[in-house]
């Protein structure tokens, strides 16, 4: 008897959890109708799982120098040779493991940059649009300045001044890329703040903070999401470019670093396609997946755009 009730309560808890999950799911308004967006979400899911379980999936640590059973350096091995799935680099590192660990840094950079860019951009946009006046002028002139900064050279200069690290890219994006988000969200807020419900809230004596949190913020959420997802792709691409140009962190393996490593070791001359194709394909996959999702969101946000 007791078992039955316990089971029942478990079932109700599970049902509630599923209900809550579904609620959050619906709130996010994932673009599930667009097949491209669904494909993008699947790719993201796959990469996310890979990143989380990297230790389990990768047979070797990404930077470990490996040796053959006969104690010679396991360098420049072809895929499948001596059990290395994608072969090894000229330094004797396992390429497959590097790809797997590279997923981690790619997602880490992508997501943190996205969150920071969306957050800063939204806050700036909302404050500028809602308060207007000199606050608006000041923030938008700052955005103008940010628009004037060439992004890639800026990151390189920043990397030269700071220690080379993948966080430079995130930091640089935070410093520069909030501008687009802020502009768009500001214009949205300009129309939102004249809506009847905002007026009504103001008449009833709601504080600015309350109006911002209750009425403005939820209404710009989808836009912030859109710009966040654009930022993911941008961040990964930027990190790859920076690493490829040799300004990356040699200690942490990223796909861009792998490309640079392959380039520096003349992988193309050695016809070592197994070395530079996989990271390139991974970058293409994750960036285009991001853009597919973005497109799906765009169709939800601006249904009139059509195809």
């Amino acid at each position: 008897m007791r078992n039955a009730t316990a089971e029942k309560s478990h079932v109700t808890i599970a049902a509630k959890a599923i209900g809550a999950f579904r609620h959050v799911f619906q709130r996010l308004r994932l673009p599930l109708r667009d097949p491209f967006a669904v494909a993008g979400l699947c790719i993201y899911l796959l990469f996310a799982l890979t990143a989380i379980c990297a230790n389990v999936i990768a047979p070797y640590p990404a930077t470990e120098i490996l040796f053959n059973p006969d104690f010679t350096l396991a360098a420049d091995l072809r895929p499948g040779e001596n059990g290395f799935l994608l072969g090894t680099t000229s330094l004797g590192r396992d390429i497959f493991s590097q790809i797997v660990y590279g997923t981690r840094s790619a997602l880490l950079i992508g997501l943190t940059a996205a969150v920071i860019v969306a957050l800063i951009g939204s806050i700036v946009g909302v404050v500028a649009g809602y308060f207007g006046g000199w606050v608006d002028t000041l923030l938008m002139r700052l955005a103008d300045i940010a628009f004037g900064i060439p992004f890639l050279p800026f990151v390189i200069v920043l990397a030269a001044f700071l220690e080379p690290s993948i966080w430079n890219v995130v930091f640089a994006m935070a410093l520069v890329l909030w501008r687009d988000t802020a502009r768009v969200i500001r214009s949205q807020v300009l129309t939102l703040r004249t809506r009847g419900y905002v007026d009504a809230a103001r008449v009833c004596g709601s504080s600015d903070l309350k109006i911002l949190l209750r009425h403005i913020a939820p209404n710009i959420m989808p836009l912030a999401f859109l710009y966040g997802s654009i930022a993911i792709g941008w961040a990964i691409l930027t990190e790859a470019s920076i690493s490829f140009l040799g300004f990356g962190d040699p200690e942490s393996i990223s796909w861009g670093y792998m490309l640079q490593d392959a380039f520096a070791n003349q992988a193309l001359g050695k016809q070592a396609y197994y070395w530079f194709l996989p990271p390139g394909i991974c970058i293409i996959l994750i960036v285009s997946a991001g853009f597919f999702i973005t497109r799906g969101y765009e169709q939800i946000l601006f249904p009139k755009l059509g195809r």
């Binding site: 009847g196 419900y197 009504a200 009833c204 004596g205």
Partner: protein, 339 residues
């Protein structure tokens, strides 16, 4: 007219502009008797919306009530301190906005928006509020199962009903509806108006209906207030104002609207010209520049409102000749501008 719920006397609302100011409402007086629907009609920019909004003291930042009295239920709204105004708003005077589309927050369900009014303004408990929500939805004829829906799930007409439900939430004495049916097609307009009429009779409400559509006024209102260029040109029972208009402007308006009953040629006679600029209003009667009957006096001194019959007043120097003017006004050539 002793039992007037609301009586507006000589109301003046001014907008501050970059240079000088502009009186959008310039000495308007009218009354809203208890339990009646009063239609506030006029062209765009004649001050009808500003006047209606001034009744709740919710006006633009650069606008101010600069004169007159708004006596509601024995209190002068124009003089109540701002902090006491909120006790009056929504509990006694509620407002139905023009476009419910922009007035409902798209990210909250209509129930939570109704609840906010009931619980925050009305001080109701959770279960009372829920009961009242269902009551209100039944009142405006929407299934209670749709309370959990978001505003975009509703059609325009339903959204307007939701807005009416929200206005009625706290059982106000006076409902001000600013162009409540303007954005809707005529069939939905009729449904909403019928509903409004039913609710008004059922609940003993007084309603001010702001509109530019005389047919809406004819359909639903008991009394009408015709505004022209910030002033009230004529006020009275709908039938009297529409059948025996005493002000040339009302006569002209009547000509300019299609009439289903009179099978006339179907040619409408417009009033030539446009309302005067409120920044530099003409001296004298504001309608004089467009009025075919304007005399020298009309161009110099502004007419005062005088009763032409009990409860029916017009602000026209020649109101006493209204009978003659009406027969002339019915002829299209009267309104022709001499070329």
């Amino acid at each position: 007219m002793t039992e007037a719920l609301l009586s507006v006397r000589d109301l003046r609302v001014s907008y501050k502009l970059s240079h000088g100011s502009l009186d959008a409402v310039d000495g308007a007086s009218f009354e809203v008797p208890q339990g009646s629907i009063v239609g506030l009609v006029g062209e765009s920019g004649c001050g009808k919306s500003t006047a209606a909004r001034a009744l709740t003291r919710v006006i633009a930042d650069n606008a101010a009530i600069t004169g007159g009295q708004i006596v509601f239920d024995g209190r002068d709204i124009a003089r109540i301190p701002e902090r006491n105004m909120n006790a009056l708003r929504w509990r006694e005077i509620a407002f139905v906005p023009q476009s419910a589309m922009n007035s409902l927050d798209p990210v909250y369900t209509v129930e939570s928006q109704l609840n906010e009014v009931l619980r925050k303004r009305g001080g109701m408990g959770r279960s009372d509020a829920r009961k009242r929500c269902e009551e209100l939805f039944e009142l405006v004829g929407i299934e209670t199962s749709r309370l959990k829906d978001y505003p975009h799930h509703f059609s325009g007409g339903m959204r307007q009903r939701v807005a009416i439900a929200i206005a009625l939430a706290l059982k106000p004495k006076l409902v001000i509806a600013d162009e409540p049916v303007t954005a809707l097609d005529v069939i939905v307009q009729r449904q909403i108006l019928d509903q409004l009429r039913d609710l008004q009779q059922q609940l003993g409400l007084s309603v001010i209906l702001v509109t530019h559509d005389i047919s809406v006024v004819a359909y639903i209102c008991d009394r009408t207030v015709v505004m022209y260029a910030g002033r009230v040109s004529e006020e009275g029972p709908v039938k009297a104002v529409l059948r025996q208009p005493a002000h040339p402007y009302s006569m002209g308006l009547k000509n300019a609207f299609p009439d289903l009953q009179s099978s006339a040629s179907g040619v409408l006679t417009p009033i030539e010209g446009a309302p005067p600029s409120l920044a530099e209003p003409p001296p004298g009667c504001r309608f004089a520049p467009r009025c075919p009957f304007a005399a020298e006096l009309c161009r110099q001194t502004a007419p005062l409102s005088e009763e032409v019959s009990p409860g029916h007043a017009a602000a026209c120097h020649r109101a006493s000749e209204a009978g003659v003017l009406r027969s002339q006004a019915a002829l299209p050539q009267t309104w022709m501008v001499p070329a």
